[in-house]
């Protein structure tokens, strides 16, 4: 199905996959997830505390 989408002229000849194989890609995904997770968790907790504080201050 992906082969039907031609983004640039002569796509087959003028492009190549970013990762060598599926294993390299999955390795990248796992490593990237591990990299971003701690900071996203920290931000999620900061937002939760801020919303809680806001509710106390402006609503209750």
């Amino acid at each position: 199905m992906n082969a039907q989408l031609e983004l640039i002229p002569n796509q087959e000849e003028n492009s190549h996959p970013l990762f060598e194989d599926e294993e390299a890609y999955q390795k990248f995904r796992a490593s990237y997830y591990e990299q971003i997770k701690p900071e996203l968790d920290r931000q999620r907790e900061a937002r939760r505390l801020s919303e809680e504080d806001s509710r106390k201050h402006f609503v209750d």
Partner: protein, 242 residues
């Protein structure tokens, strides 16, 4: 706050006993070429922001909220803001701070980051400008902006984009704030924890594009080399310079 306003999204800024609407900002780019600490991998366009512009119902419209309080303008300082609310469209699940985290992480990576894939960008400290827009608005300006290379225009034009996208433009001090060298496009309707939310990674030397996301399929990343790339104008939407 700056990133939402740069995206054209007004904010409700709450002070101790009052709320004002902020919808514009004032930047000073005279220091754009000044050296930044090498310990910082990026300079954000928000570093040049000096004040916000807003409407306070206790005063005249279009007043300044600055770092320091002035006789004229909104009678508060920026540091007095206790909370802010950004009214995002319903399907935008990726917040500005989460986008900053995911995009700076990918740009700094040893495998797909700019240090490995873009000698031109790594030659100076990159300046990053983040904003939210619609895929349709982004596409509407492709021809006018040129996008640095005809193949980038072709690829973006043929790529079905989601309704909302986050964009991180990459520039250098000698061409900013007029021009950029590339950008990262991210699906704004994605959960930040999804590691495959990026749709395109455009460096001056190459375009990496997710062909799979266009068909709502698994990510399928194609690399398109870009010989003879040039810089091109920044994206401007509903927030215009005055």
């Amino acid at each position: 706050m700056y990133t939402y306003i740069e995206s054209g999204i007004p904010l409700l800024a709450a002070f101790e006993r009052h709320v004002v609407v902020l919808f514009g900002h004032r930047s000073d780019f005279s220091s754009v070429g000044a050296a930044s600490p090498d310990s910082q991998p990026f300079v954000f366009s928000s570093n040049f922001n000096r004040a916000f512009i807003g409407n306070d119902d206790n005063g005249f419209p279009y007043q300044v909220l600055g770092i320091d309080q002035t006789d004229r303008g909104i009678p508060h300082r920026l540091s007095d803001v206790q909370q802010f609310v950004a009214g995002l469209p319903e399907k935008v699940f990726l917040s500005a701070e989460d986008f900053q985290t995911v995009v700076t992480s990918i740009l700094g990576r040893p495998d797909v980051g700019y240090r490995r894939l873009s000698p031109l960008i790594r030659s100076q400290q990159p300046i990053l400008r983040l904003f939210l827009t619609t895929g349709r608005s982004f596409k509407k300006r492709l021809t006018d902006r040129g996008m640095g290379h005809p193949l980038v225009q072709d690829a973006y034009r043929g790529l079905p984009l989601p309704h909302f996208i986050w964009v991180c433009e990459i520039s250098h001090a000698d061409i900013y704030p007029e021009n950029v060298l590339g950008e990262v496009i991210w699906d704004a309707t994605r959960n930040p924890y999804e590691p495959d939310g990026w749709i395109a990674l455009h460096y001056p030397e190459m375009l990496v594009v997710d062909e799979g996301s266009a068909l709502n399929g698994m990510q399928h990343l194609l690399t398109i080399p870009l010989p003879s790339h040039t810089h091109y104008p920044i994206f401007e939407n509903n927030l215009r310079r005055v």
